[in-house]
Structures are given as C-alpha cells and as structure tokens.
C-alpha cells in the first residue's frame, strides 16, 4: 500500500466491480468468527461440559459395594441380648453394627448415620426404619436374614452369586448422552438467540436490512455456522465419552450423526424463534431460560424422564431434548438403528420446521 492519499475522485472514477465473495459465505464466516473470538463461548461450549462430565465420573466411579449400618439398641426387657445381636450383625457381609443408646438412637436414625435400628427382645426383634429409603430396606433385609440364620433358620435353596460390571449400565453411561443433548440445546439456543438479539439491540439488524442483504441468507447463516460447531462439539464430547469414560457406541455412527444434526436444527429453530422479537439481551435471556428450564427438569439429562407420572408423559415426550436424549441413549447404549429412533427423529424434524416457520412470521428486523 502507498501513503499517497486516494481521493474519492480517484476511487469513483473507476468502474465498480462484482464482489468476489458470496454473501452467504461471508455471513456464515461472520457467525463463526463471532463465536471463536469470544473465549467465553468456547469455554461454555467445549470446556464446561467436559469438566461437568469429569466431576460426575469421579462422583459415580466404580466402588466396592457399600456397607449398610445397623444400630443395636438394648431392649428394656432383655438388655443382655444386645451383645449377641451386635456380634451376629457385625460379622455379616455388607453390614456394620453400631451400639446405640436410647438417647442417641432417634437422632442417628433421622440423620442417616444408621439405616435401621434393631431392638432385640425376649419374643423377637423389632426393626425401626424409614421404608421410603432403599438403603434402609436393604439393611433391614440383610439384618433380618443374618439374625434369622443365627437363630437357627436353614435356607432350603442353595445359592450361587455371579457378580458382573456391565459397560453401559453405569451412571456415566446414562449421563453422557444426556450431557451431549443438553449441550446441543444450550449452544443452539444461547449462541443463536444472543447473537440475533444483540444485533437487534445494537441496531445492526436494522443496518443490515437497509442493504440488499437477503434476509433468508442471514437466518440461514446461523444454521450453517451451528453445523460447523456441531461437528466439533459432537466429536469432542462423544470422543471423550467413549475413549476416556468407556461409554459404549453400540449403534451405527451415521444414525448418531443424524440424531445430532436434527437435534441441532430443532434447537436452532427454537433459538431463532426465541430471538424473533426481544429488543434486549436481558429480555431474551429470560425467555431462553423459560424455554430451557422444563427440558433441564423433564428431559432426562440427569435421571430418567420415565420417573415422571404418566399424566405428564405426553408433554415430557414431546420436548425436543427428551427426543434427543432418548434417541442418543437408544443409539449409543442399545445399538438402535434408524428405524428404532424414527419416532424421536420425527419429533425433532417437526420442532425444527415448526419453529422456523413461526420465527419467520414473527421476526422483527429492527
């Protein structure tokens, strides 16, 4: 370049030229640049889910079977029986016995320091426990078996235990597909929603529609840039799930790709729809949380969505994140092919198409 000043006369004397770059490519490149030049976006998209997965992998790592604690309270009418009971329980596999007195028994039970309170008496044994706690029910069963056998019961059936640890049945196996689904939702809705609304609040949208820019291309560029990041996101999360945590990939990978693609389109549509009208990013972030909250709760990210009552299952099953999570789990853990997840894919396609059509009708360009 030269330092000689170029005047408008010089510049405008030359004929204009046809631009070299296509506007769709330029718009898409703009979206990609906006994301990768925002370090926070990279953190929340790639680093945060991996940290979350690592934390949960530590919390739910394989451990020796847990020991249930039984409290033994000497009975008022036969306090001498307590010592024998304590010894019998303490020598039982899976149980630890703890002597308690009547002052500390209630609080130990309430705080969960003991799972069941055993009080031996001359006519038999009393168990005090909370039946809604699975740990307490297990402890009661184990304790009762041990005490009955030490009192002389003989079991008529011979028993052989074969212990297994199956990949695919651990919590991390359940969680990783859900985390991938949640990430697709978060990056679709946040990235697109914020980008559009902040362009509107900065009057950049208004400036753009004053040019000959194609409005369809503008919205399309958000989808295309999402697909660029989708590939990276899925590769990173699925790769770490499989190679670092040993999560199985039993189904066809092509089907996994289709599920994530349709999921990303559905969440992008939702992102554009949420961003169709708000004038401020504050207003939009409220709407985004409102849209995502039910899916965080109901869509089976952290625990199975089948836990919710049958009455609300039609609602739960219609949520796009439920469809993504169910399809991902079916594919990754159970080896489901295209046919087996067709229902979920149809739900996602309906969300993608419906939200885009609605968003285009509602979209405010200024």
């Amino acid at each position: 370049m030269t330092d000689a000043p170029i005047t408008a006369r010089d510049v405008f004397a030359r004929p204009p030229v046809a631009p070299r770059n296509s506007s769709l490519a330029q718009l898409t490149a703009t979206r990609v640049r906006e994301v990768i030049r925002e370090p926070e976006a990279v953190f929340w998209t790639f680093v945060f889910p991996l940290l979350l997965a690592a934390g949960l992998a530590v919390a739910f790592r394989a451990r020796p079977p847990e020991v249930r604690v039984v409290g033994v309270l000497p009975g008022a009418r036969a306090p001498e029986l307590a010592a024998g009971t304590l010894a019998a329980l303490d020598s039982t596999e899976g149980l630890a016995a703890l002597a308690v007195d009547s002052a500390s028994a209630a609080s130990a039970l309430a705080a969960g320091r003991i799972d069941v309170l055993v009080t031996p008496g001359p006519e038999g044994v009393q168990y005090r426990y909370d039946p809604t706690r699975p740990e307490s029910r297990i402890a009661r069963l184990l304790a009762d078996g041990a005490l009955q056998r030490s009192a002389g019961r003989s079991d008529p059936l011979g028993v052989t235990d074969v212990q297994v640890s199956e990949r695919g049945a651990r919590y991390i196996d359940f969680f990783m597909p859900g985390l991938l689904g949640m990430n697709l939702m978060g990056s679709g809705i946040w990235a697109i929603g914020f980008s559009i609304v902040s362009a509107r609040s900065k009057k950049l949208l208004k400036r753009l529609v004053a040019t000959p820019m194609s409005r369809a291309q503008f919205l399309l560029s958000f989808l295309l840039s999402r697909l660029v990041f989708l590939v990276l996101e899925v590769l990173v999360l699925v790769g770490v799930a499989h190679y670092a945590f040993g999560v199985p990939l039993r189904g066809p990978l092509a089907v996994l790709a289709v599920i994530t693609l349709l999921g990303a389109l559905a969440f992008s549509g939702l992102g554009v729809l949420i961003a169709a009208r708000p004038q401020t990013t504050e207003g939009a972030s409220g709407l985004m949380n409102l849209a995502m909250l039910p899916m965080w709760v109901f869509s089976g990210v952290f625990f199975a969505s089948s836990r919710f009552p049958a009455a609300i299952q039609p609602f739960v099953q219609a949520l796009p994140l439920t469809a993504v999570n169910d399809a991902l789990r079916a594919n990754m853990l159970e080896g489901a092919g295209l046919g087996a997840v067709a229902g979920e894919l149809a739900i996602l396609a309906a969300w993608a198409a419906g939200t885009f059509v609605l968003a285009l009708r509602l979209f405010r360009w200024r």
Partner: protein, 314 residues
C-alpha cells in the same frame, strides 16, 4: 459524468406524515433534493429528522405521503433502491469481533456491483486499522467505518443521519472532507444534523425542520440573509436586572430583539449604528452591563428567530 439531461430530483417527498402512537413525528413534510447536491435537514433533537430519513431509506413506512427515491417508490422497487443507496444510521454498532476489512467484505458481498474493499478503506483513511477489531476503534474511526460501509456499495445517493454527533473536532473535519469529496463526484447526499456549522460547511441547501415540518428552506446564505441583519448583538445585564425588550426594538438598526438564556439578543444592521444607542438606553434605564458580545449571524440565529428556541439545549 455530468449529464446534460434535465435533473430529475434524487429525492422527492410530499405531504409526509408519520405518528408513533400519540406522538406525531412527521407532520406534512415536503422535500425536493436535487441530484448532485448536498442537502441538509437541520433541526433540534426530536424534530422528526431521523424519522424522515428512515422513511426515505425504506426502513419505516409512512402513514401518508409520497416518497420517490431516484424516481422510484419503495413499494415497487425496494431491491433496486437498496442496491443504489448508501446509508449510515444514527448510532449503529457494527460487530465488535470483526476486523475493519472483514466488516467491509461482509457489506460488500451484499451488492451486485461494489467498490473494492481496499479503495473504501483508503477513502476513509483506515489503512492502518484494516486488521484491527471494530471493538478496538475510537469513536471517530467507528464512524468512518460506518460511512465506509455506506460507500462500499457504490451508492448514487448517500444518507447520513447525524454523522458527527459525539465526535472530536478532528474526526468531524475528516468526515466533512470525505462528504465533500463524495459530493465532488456529482453524487447526492442527504444528511441530518443539529450542528449549524456542519450544515453551513457541507450543505448546498438546507431545510430547517421543527415539529415534523419544514419551516425554512434555502442555501445557508439565503437563510442567514433572511434575518435581514448583518450582526447579532448579545448582552447580559449585571445582577439579574431586567430589560424591557419591547423598548429595544425601537433602537436604530434593530431588526429583532428577544430574551435568550439570561441575556438579550438583538439582530442588527450595523454594530456601530446600534451600540451607542443601546448603551445610552441602558444607562437611562439604570441597567448595568455584565457582558456585551457581537457575532455574525449563523443558522442558529435563523432557527432562534423562527422558533424562539435554541437549536441545542446545552
């Protein structure tokens, strides 16, 4: 390039009206901007300048009225018009993450025919900043980039809405140079401003706008001459003493007399004719003077004489 054909107006506006709820922003406004001129809409904030220019830019639909841009209507030829207009809105914030070059490449890609990005960067003197992110530019540099985005599509008609608001004096002068160079190529500019010096320097003709109407139209010289005064006398009585403004109108050479923020302003034919009479008059009335100034009349004085208000309240 200067054609011999009878000049078709670059912009024609007749009977334009626009309300936002209860607020009437534009109230029967007429304009005719000739091809090749720089036309200014001068008026205080809230006068309806921005609404008018956004209607001409096709961003806002008028309630009623006729708008013809380059001889075409927005309802019929929106695509053609967007290709031919250059627009700098009031306070657009371009994407902070993009560089100067990338921003212009993006805008350039929207046009069928455009100026090379390099040329436009040189035009607004942002060569050293071509790889700088927009977020790191100063206010003046951002404003120049906004004008570059308006120029990259090789426009026939350039709309600039308050192009120098909030800029330092040096940046303002750079932008003025740019507009003058653009105009020198025979193209048309419509700008809004509430700075009278900007309007006087850049505009061939000016429409003074107030309450959504054109209240005066002409060249800066014509508008100032319409005051019929060669000088403006401004004095401030000491100790808050009051002056009978009516009586001042009878003094020699006084065309106009009015009270303005704390003082009194007289539009006069000649300073040497009026000042002795004024001093004598104040002496008789027992009004001591804190300040006496004189200046050549400006568009500000024209606006004040038309509306009784200041253009800017600062």
């Amino acid at each position: 390039m200067t054609g011999t054909a009878p000049a078709r107006p670059a912009l024609l506006v007749e009977g334009l009206r626009k309300s936002f709820g209860e607020t009437i922003a534009v109230d029967g406004l007429d304009l005719e901007v000739r091809a090749g001129e720089c036309f200014g809409l001068l008026g205080p904030n809230g006068a309806g300048k921005t609404t008018t220019i956004e209607i001409c830019e096709g961003l806002t639909a008028p309630d009623t009225g006729l708008v013809r841009v380059l001889g075409r209507a927005w309802s019929d030829d929106a695509d053609f018009l967007r290709q031919r207009l250059g627009i700098a809105l009031q306070d657009t914030q371009l994407s902070e993450k993009l560089t100067v070059e990338e921003t212009l490449s993006l805008f350039q890609s929207f046009y069928r025919l455009a100026r090379p990005v390099e040329d436009v960067i040189a035009l607004v003197a942002l060569g050293e900043k071509r790889r700088a992110r927009v977020g790191t530019l100063s206010g003046g540099q951002k404003q120049r980039l906004a004008v570059a985005c308006a120029l990259v599509g090789d426009p026939e008609l350039l709309f600039l809405d308050e192009p120098t608001t909030g800029l330092d004096p040096q940046s303002r002068r750079q932008l003025w140079d740019l507009v003058e160079q653009f105009k020198a190529t025979g193209r048309t500019v419509l700008l809004t401003t509430h700075y009278m010096d900007e309007a006087e320097r850049l505009c061939d003709r000016i429409a003074i706008v107030d309450h959504g109407r054109v209240i005066a139209l002409g060249t800066p010289r014509e508008l100032i001459a319409s005051l019929g005064a060669e000088h403006i006398l401004h004095f401030v009585p000491a100790d808050g003493a009051t002056v009978d403004v009516e009586a001042l109108r009878g003094l020699a050479g006084v065309r106009l007399a009015r009270r303005v923020d704390g003082g009194v302003e007289l539009a006069v034919r000649a300073v040497h004719e009026t000042v002795p009479e004024l001093l004598a008059h104040l002496e008789r009335a027992g009004v001591p003077l804190a300040e006496l100034r004189t200046h050549s009349p400006t568009l500000e004085d024209v606006f004040v004489s038309l509306t009784g208000r200041q253009l800017r309240d600062d």
